[in-house]
């Protein structure tokens, strides 16, 4: 059952991700991105991380994507005609991209990733609750990155306002 759901959403995610890169209309690409985000959220649910799934939908599909869409509408770039780029860039990019893809697939397919399992098994998560587990980790082991992220977001916000706001001071 889980496997069926996994393949369903994994396929959907891959197809939509291809759509994001391949579609010429930026709005369509953005909508495909929404499908990718939501499919990923479904995969997180399968990994017994419903909190991450909900956060994924809320933040990525609900906020970040909307920002993308706003930027697209404000710039109204129209449909990409493929002009502008140097002629040899596309084929070259295709060759290199394909080479990298083949390399990665070969390497990753040949190896069984021997990663050690973490301490948070599905059973353990069901027992303590995944939200509680995330909360506890954020305020103990991951306290430093958590606080740094808040500073980072603050700086980004201040900077963006400085760069984008109307001239107020002379």
């Amino acid at each position: 059952m889980d496997l069926i759901v996994f393949y369903l959403f994994a396929t959907l995610a891959v197809i939509a991700a291809l759509g994001v890169v391949a579609l010429r209309n930026p709005v369509h690409a953005a909508l495909c991105l929404a499908v990718v985000f939501i499919s990923l959220a479904a995969l997180y649910v399968l990994l017994s991380a419903p909190f991450v799934a909900a956060a994924q939908v809320m933040i990525y599909a609900g906020a970040i994507l909307i920002l993308f869409v706003f930027v697209i509408m404000l710039l109204s770039p129209g449909v990409d005609q493929g002009a502008g780029a140097l002629k040899w860039q596309r084929p070259l990019a295709a060759v290199f991209g394909l080479a990298l893809a083949v390399e990665l697939i070969l390497v990753l397919a040949s190896a069984v990733l021997p990663a050690a399992r973490g301490q948070y098994t599905p059973e353990r998560l069901a027992q303590i609750g995944d939200v509680q587990a995330i909360g506890a980790l954020l305020f103990t082991d991951f306290l430093l990155p958590f606080e740094i992220t808040s500073l980072l977001l603050l700086v980004a916000m201040v900077g963006v306002i400085v760069l984008a706001k109307k001239r107020v001071r002379s």
Partner: protein
């Protein structure tokens, strides 16, 4: 009394039992039998829930029109059925048989998908609402987040409608709606955080259970000062989130025709319309669950209590709609970011500080 209190739970159990008995006749493996029964029962719940929601929407439409008429000193619908009760039904039939028009230069796929993307999440969100004691379709331990997350998908639908119609009014309305919904989602979620802080859980069932003291009257709205502040902020931002007057600039008819659904007709338009009422109903049920003890209450059966509270909030929303003029765009965004968000943030700090005290003096 007990029979009445647990009416729907008992019905569910009885049906599940009957199905088990039926399935037992097929001589299946125990696991397969359980899986089949569970699947059929979820299907039953889904169908019942959908029918119930459609019924609620019909009632809401009638109520809204009657109320509006009352406040504006008119009679309102009174021709179809007693007190015009069947008017929404007639309207629905009309919508079904109307021609479905897609503008020539519209982005067909996006245009067609938009109403579905708007209405479907609203229905999904109802899956976690505790309608009465033991009456919840699913108990997610992240219930509140589920509602918020699913609700944020609807925003994309509105954008799709605005963009896909290839009409400047649609696009303007769509962008307005998206900006507004994204902005008001922030205070809305932040007030929920205050409640979650007091409960210590994101599950809507646990939140309701936490309000069971005082014979079912220990509601968070009484948890002074956090609860009342949170409720006011929540309710205002919820009204804005569902684009109702005085926050209805996305479809301000005097400025941009009908906003994102200008180009829609027939059942597609109907889906937007129904979606709006789904959402309105949803935010009221959430408000009741978070602040008014959900189905908790003395004497009456839980589900009756729940409906009474929900309808009280709905009437409040209709009253506000009929008596307030529309905000201007900049006022609206300013109100969200400069008034509601700071209040909600302060309220979170208050909640963190006050929770131990409130617990000690027995307010929560």
């Amino acid at each position: 009394m007990d029979l009445l209190n647990n009416l729907f739970v008992n019905l569910y159990d009885w049906l599940a039992g009957a199905l088990h008995a039926l399935a037992a006749g097929l001589n299946l493996v125990k696991d397969a039998e359980n899986a089949i029964v569970a699947a059929v029962m979820s299907l039953v719940v889904i169908v019942v829930l959908l029918l119930w929601l459609v019924l609620m929407v019909l009632v809401l439409i009638w109520l809204e029109r009657k109320n509006a008429a009352r406040i504006q000193d008119r009679v309102g619908p009174n021709r179809v059925g007693p007190f015009g009760l069947l008017q929404p039904v007639a309207d629905t039939i009309k919508m079904f048989i109307k021609e479905d028009i897609v503008p020539t230069n519209a982005d067909r796929l996006v245009h067609t998908l938009a109403p579905i993307v708007v209405a479907a999440p609203a229905v999904l969100a109802f899956a976690v609402i505790p309608w009465g004691k033991g009456m919840f379709p699913v108990d997610l331990n992240i219930g509140v987040l589920w509602v918020v997350a699913v609700g944020s998908i609807g925003t994309i639908g509105i954008f799709m409608a605005g963009y896909g119609s290839n009409n400047k009014y649609s696009l303007l309305g769509g962008m307005r709606a998206v900006a507004q919904m994204v902005s008001y989602e922030v205070p809305q979620v932040l007030t929920i955080v205050a409640i979650v802080l007091m409960t210590g859980s994101l599950s809507l069932n646990k939140i309701v259970d936490a309000q069971s003291g005082w014979g079912g009257m220990q509601w968070y709205i009484f948890a002074f000062p956090v609860g009342p502040i949170a409720f006011i902020v929540y309710y205002l931002s919820a009204l804005a989130e569902v684009n109702r007057t005085p926050f209805d600039i996305p479809e301000g008819e005097s400025e941009i025709v009908a906003g994102h659904h200008t180009e829609y007709s027939g059942m597609k338009w109907g889906l937007f319309y129904v979606g709006e009422y789904f959402n309105f109903f949803l935010v009221c049920t959430i408000a009741v669950t978070l602040f008014f003890g959900g189905w908790q209450g003395p004497l009456l059966p839980p589900y009756v209590w729940f409906l009474i509270k929900v309808y009280a909030l709905i009437l409040l929303g209709m009253w506000i709609r009929m008596t307030w003029p529309r905000f201007r765009v900049d006022q609206l965004m300013g109100f969200a970011w400069k008034t509601l968000v700071p209040i909600a943030l302060v309220n979170i700090i208050l909640a963190a500080l006050a929770t131990p005290i409130l617990k000690a003096i027995g307010l929560i």
